[in-house]
Amino acid sequence: MKNNQKNNKGTAAADGVRNQSPSKLLLLSHFICGIGIVLSFWLAINVFSISLIKNPVETLRLLWLIEVPVVILIYSFFRKDKNQSSYLKAVARGLLGLPVGAVVNALGAIALGAPVGSRYFLRTLNWSLLMSAFTFVPAASVYGSSWVDWHRIFAHTKPIGFIDYMICIPAYGAVIGGWFGAWPMPLDWERPWQEWPICVTYGALIGYFIGMLASFSFVVHVSRQHKNWKIIIYVCTWS
């Protein structure tokens, strides 16, 4: 703990982070991420007059173009090795994580049956970039290339500390939401939103929001149980 404080002569923002209670911090960052999505939808409808159903490619592009910077800028505050890497480095890691995550998401979607072909290329690309912003980018900004942390969160699903919850639960929410979002696709309702990837995107967004809500309530619940939770978190994340 002492060691942490000694080395932590970083930015003012970091001081701010440390002085806030974790649940408030988490609520704030989730709130900003949510605002980003809502804002991009608002822009799409009112400024560019496009909609996800009619112009899936353009809307998805707008969504990730807004969401990615928001996510990177916020999660870089929570970078794990504050004493070694700067804020800028965390931002760069997030940017690097974006295409990698997109590839992983796209491969997963294609394995589950997403259509391939030139007609769907742009849709899949933009969708997977958005999914990357929900799943990969935050983790890349926070953990960098720390394999142990990645393994702990995404393979074992054993989050410890509020940052783990903050990354892991919304990411799982988005993936599971997208998985459920694919269900209406084979039905013969002949609705335009049954096309790839519209309903999957809706599912992922709903799952993401539910995940953020869940991670917030989880952290609140746990921090009420343990009065010294705050200290544990700091030890876990900064040591």
Partner: protein, 936 residues
């Protein structure tokens, strides 16, 4: 709770299987009743209004046909419009080809293919109709519908391959009773349907699909002969141009001029099966058909000029066909069959071609030829055909039709309160009868106006249509007791299976905390629950292939996740195996678009078909080599390698090369597969595969016993050898039987199954055995749809069922059809033998070395029970869904075909499990026996 002994365990499983079979048969015969048709035939009473006393049936069978004929003529008050009938039945001709669709004329190529028919239509000498065929659009039920006028029961599909005599009242029998002589050439189906009715015949089996060339000489000879006997004097015909078998019934009555012909023209359907709707063979086929119509029509004109016999030529098709030439379902393309009436009295009345129902042909023909309408007829007459006759006769015809329908309605009403039917149709009938009565009385006074006539006709039409619709709807009253008993029995067997599984799980994994959550294990159950839930939706039943692929891929993605998590052992190769499964699965999903709603979208098989044999042939060769090299690889990983294993490997290599030679030499070029040497080659390959598989499996424990004295090793290696033999024998067989585009699919499914087995074997106890078996079962089900199968009957590869059969055999073709359709689930089940061998480790075998029963239970418990349990859950769930949905709009088009698939899948699982269980039991018992012998 004590643990079950092997004997008890086997007994309980056998009992559950027996219960399942019993319940299933009870349900099937309750739900798909052999249609409750009225027995007996219509006689002279049909010319009197229906009355209540059942004693009206008088015995007229002792009358001489001529007497009966004159009696009918007197009673009916309608002079027959025609003296003879030529019925030409064209198998699988869509009306669209002749009449066009939606008031659009057919395409120019099609029009040019049938110049004579088109000119007849243009000159208003023929009347064409779109005759809606009721599903299932398969030949036999349609023939029954056309001759009896009733809509056949659904199980007729199954009897399509087991034709039985038509005992119901039908138009052919009616014509026979008034002394018509009938001659028929061609299709055996008709002979079996109407045994003893034809004076002369030449039956050829219609199920020998691959051959479109051979029989024409036969038919042409007979056609000329019949024409000569009828004094038609039309010997200039070149019938040997006909590249098809045809059924041709010509009747010549020696002292009268009545004749009756049926031409059952099969070529089109066969071309469709072989080449699809837009096949290049279709144009010439239509041309030939046109020639026949021309020949017959000109002969009828001649005979009319000569001796004033009026002949009606009726060209009908039994059903249409889909774009790929298949039929059986209920799409517009399949149900759109043709009814074309060509005769001297025909005058075209309307510009567009009306839509009638296929069953309407029966009453129309009966009334035109003055015989009673068959008892079970649900159709109503086509009024346009009666136009040259007087108003009185037209109304009389409608009246006769109404009486017949009313009789049928009264007979089918559950409460036999005769004459007091309070429903809509009987009041409509009373209206029409009243109008008819008033018209009659006015007509006598010559004061009947045109309006009176019109309103009477309208009233009759109203009644006829309502009654016909009412009768066409299926009888919904089902023997509930029988159905409930069947469902309960199946439910009991399902509970038994699941209980046994649970017990087995408890015995095997006693230490595992049940509350710990394992995602792959939960998913195995989740998949079944989701599939069961989705079966209630008709569109998800139609598009089931998406579901299976989605769930299987999800399972393997979760497995990928688990593999990364475990991080023990050789993670890279494990990851590689799962990746191979996922990639193959994705390719398989793209192979056939499948389903109903998105079949038109591009897929791999379609692009291959377009590219043609330059693309398909190399792919077939690659796939063949993939299978052979996989086979050799798996054999090489056998621990005890000896000369015998090399010998077996060589035998597979040579069989593979034989199949390859056959594929290269005979497949793909039209009628090449029906040649004698092709059939011989196929039969040779069948023989080699069956012999080598049997010999290898039976001899494997003996081989291994000579190689090594270690019991565990002997059992393990013999099982491995047998499993490999089963899988590769099956794959080689499939390469022979499947359509050329599907050969790669089989290889990919094989790759998936082997990869799953290897993954599980290396993962140690990470993946439990029952999870692995369930995964293999799911792969088999997903692969079933990748082969292009759907839940409609249309995608069954009928043409493939005749590969290597030199003479028609219902049983053999049935077996081959089953082998083709259930290639993938069967492959998965056969793969279980290999999976058992890989799983059987020393500890399991050593512990129970003293007790063979325990060994068998340990080894065979899950591999037998998991597929049986999963399948029984699906079966029971779907049975209940079928029962719940029995009044659903799509019950006969979506749910019932799916149920037939479910039932056959059950048979497939039972057969597969039987093979696995008997093989493993045999090997273990033999190995133990050999060891004991050597010890003593």
């Amino acid at each position: 709770m004590g643990s079950l002994t092997c004997a008890n365990f086997t007994l309980l499983t056998a009992l559950a299987i027996l219960l399942q079979i019993t319940g299933l048969s009870l349900f099937v015969f309750g739900f798909f009743p052999i249609k409750p048709a009225l027995s007996g035939v219509s006689g002279p009473e049909s010319f009197r209004p229906p009355s209540c006393d059942s004693t009206e049936a008088q015995n007229h069978t002792d009358l001489h046909p001529d007497q009966l004929k004159s009696l009918y003529q007197k009673l009916s008050e309608i002079p027959p419009s025609y003296d003879r009938l030529i019925l030409m039945v064209i198998d699988g001709l869509p009306a669209e080809f002749v009449l066009g669709r939606d008031d659009q004329p057919p395409s120019k190529i099609l029009k040019d293919s049938m110049p004579y028919t088109q000119s007849l239509l243009a000159n208003k000498m023929a009347l064409g109709y779109h005759a809606k065929a009721a599903p299932p659009t398969v030949t036999l039920p349609r023939l029954k519908a056309m001759t009896t006028g009733s809509i056949g029961g659904f199980l007729d599909v199954l009897f399509n391959f087991n034709t039985q005599a038509l005992l119901e009242d039908n138009i052919i029998g009616q014509l026979f009773r008034i002394g018509w002589k009938m001659v028929m050439l061609g299709d055996e189906t008709w002979l079996k349907l109407f045994p003893g009715l034809f004076t002369r015949h030449d039956g050829v089996s219609s199920f020998f699909v691959k051959d479109t060339v051979q029989v024409d000489h036969n038919v042409s000879r007979h056609l000329s002969y019949e024409l000569y006997h009828s004094d038609w004097n039309l010997l200039l015909l070149r019938v040997n141009l006909i590249v098809a078998r045809q059924l041709y019934i010509a009747s010549t009555l020696e002292f009268s001029t009545i004749s009756f012909q049926i031409l059952h023209y099969l070529g089109l359907d066969h071309v469709g099966h072989l080449g699809g709707r837009n096949s290049v063979m279709m144009g010439p086929k239509l041309q030939e058909m046109d020639d026949i119509i021309k020949l017959i029509h000109s002969s009828t004109i001649k005979s009319q000029e000569r001796d004033h016999t009026r002949t009606l030529l009726v060209v009908v098709s039994d059903h249409g066909m889909q774009g790929n030439g298949n039929h059986g379902g209920s799409s517009y393309e399949e149900t759109d069959s043709l009814a074309l009436f060509i005769g001297p009295g025909i005058s075209h009345v309307s510009a567009t071609y009306d839509t009638i129902s296929q069953v309407d042909i029966t009453p129309t023909l009966a009334l035109l030829f003055g015989v009673p309408i068959p008892k079970n007829n649900a159709g109503y007459l086509i009024a346009d055909l009666f136009h040259p006759i007087g108003d009185h006769q037209l109304l009389r015809a409608m009246e006769l039709n109404s009486w017949q329908l009313l009789r049928l309605l009264q007979a089918k009403a559950t409460d036999s309160t005769c004459g007091s039917l309070k429903d809509e149709s009987s009041s409509l009938y009373l209206d029409a009868a009243a109008l008819h009565g008033s018209w009659k009385s006015k007509n006598v006074l010559r004061s009947a106006s045109n309006n009176d006539l019109k309103s009477t006709v309208l009233a009759y039409n109203e009644f006829l249509r309502t009654a016909s619709n009412q009768l066409s709807r299926r009888a919904t009253d089902k023997p509930i007791g029988l159905l409930a008993l069947g469902v309960m029995t199946m439910l009991l067997s399902c509970v038994m299976f699941l209980g046994l599984l649970f017990k087995l799980g408890q015995e095997f994994y006693p230490n595992i905390q049940t509350h710990k959550f394992h995602l792959p294990e939960a998913l195995v159950g989740g998949i079944i629950v989701i599939i069961v839930l989705s079966m209630g939706s008709s569109s998800l039943v139609e598009e089931e292939q998406y579901l299976w692929h989605f769930m299987t891929s999800t399972f393997f993605l979760v497995l990928l996740h688990k593999t990364i998590k475990s991080a023990t052992g050789n993670v890279t190769s494990q990851l590689f195996l799962v990746a191979v499964i996922l990639i193959s699965g994705r390719i398989l999903k793209g192979w056939h678009q499948g389903g109903v709603n998105w079949t038109h979208l591009p897929d791999i098989s379609k692009s291959l078909e377009i590219c043609g044999s330059p693309c398909i042939k190399p792919l077939q060769i690659i796939s063949m080599f993939l299978v052979i090299s996989l086979c050799l690889y798996t054999l090489s990983s056998l621990r005890s390698r000896g000369n015998i294993v090399i010998l077996i490997g060589l035998s597979y290599l040579s069989t593979g090369l034989l199949v390859l030679r056959y594929v290269i030499k005979y497949q793909g070029d039209g009628s090449g597969t029906s040649g004698n040497d092709a059939i011989l080659a196929v039969q040779l390959i069948y023989g080699i595969i069956i012999t080598s598989v049997t010999v290898t499996v039976i001899a494997s424990p003996w081989f291994m016993y000579f190689q090594s004295k270690d019991l565990v090793l002997v059992i393990k290696d013999s099982l491995y050898l047998s499993g490999t033999t089963y899988m590769f024998g099956w794959c080689l067989l499939q390469h022979l039987l499947q359509q050329p585009v599907n050969s790669m699919v089989i290889s990919l499914i094989l790759v998936q199954i082997i990869a799953t087995i290897y993954h599980a074997s290396r993962g140690g106890s990470d993946v439990k055995q029952w999870v692995e078996i369930a995964a293999i079962y799911y792969l088999g089900m997903a692969g079933h749809f990748s082969l292009g199968n759907t839940n409609t009957l249309a995608t069954i590869d009928v043409a493939g069922a005749f590969i290597g059969i030199s003479s028609h055999s219902t049983v053999l073709s049935g077996v081959i059809m089953f082998v083709i359709t259930y290639a993938s689930p069967m492959l998965a089940l056969l793969g279980l033998v290999m999976s058992i061998s890989v799983r059987a480790n020393n500890t399991i075998l050593k512990i129970h070395e003293v007790n063979t029963g325990e060994v068998l239970k340990t080894i065979l418990g899950f591999p037998c029970l998991v597929p049986l349990g999963l399948n029984s859950v699906l079966l029971v769930a779907y049975t209940i869904i079928l029962l719940v949905m029995r009044n659903h709009l799509f019950i006969w088009t979506v749910f019932s075909p799916k149920y037939i698939y479910v039932v056959v899948t059950t048979i497939c699982v039972l057969v597969g499990v039987l093979i696995v269980a008997s093989t493993v039991t045999y090997i273990i018992l033999t190995a133990v026996f050999l060891r004991k012998k050597s010890a003593s």
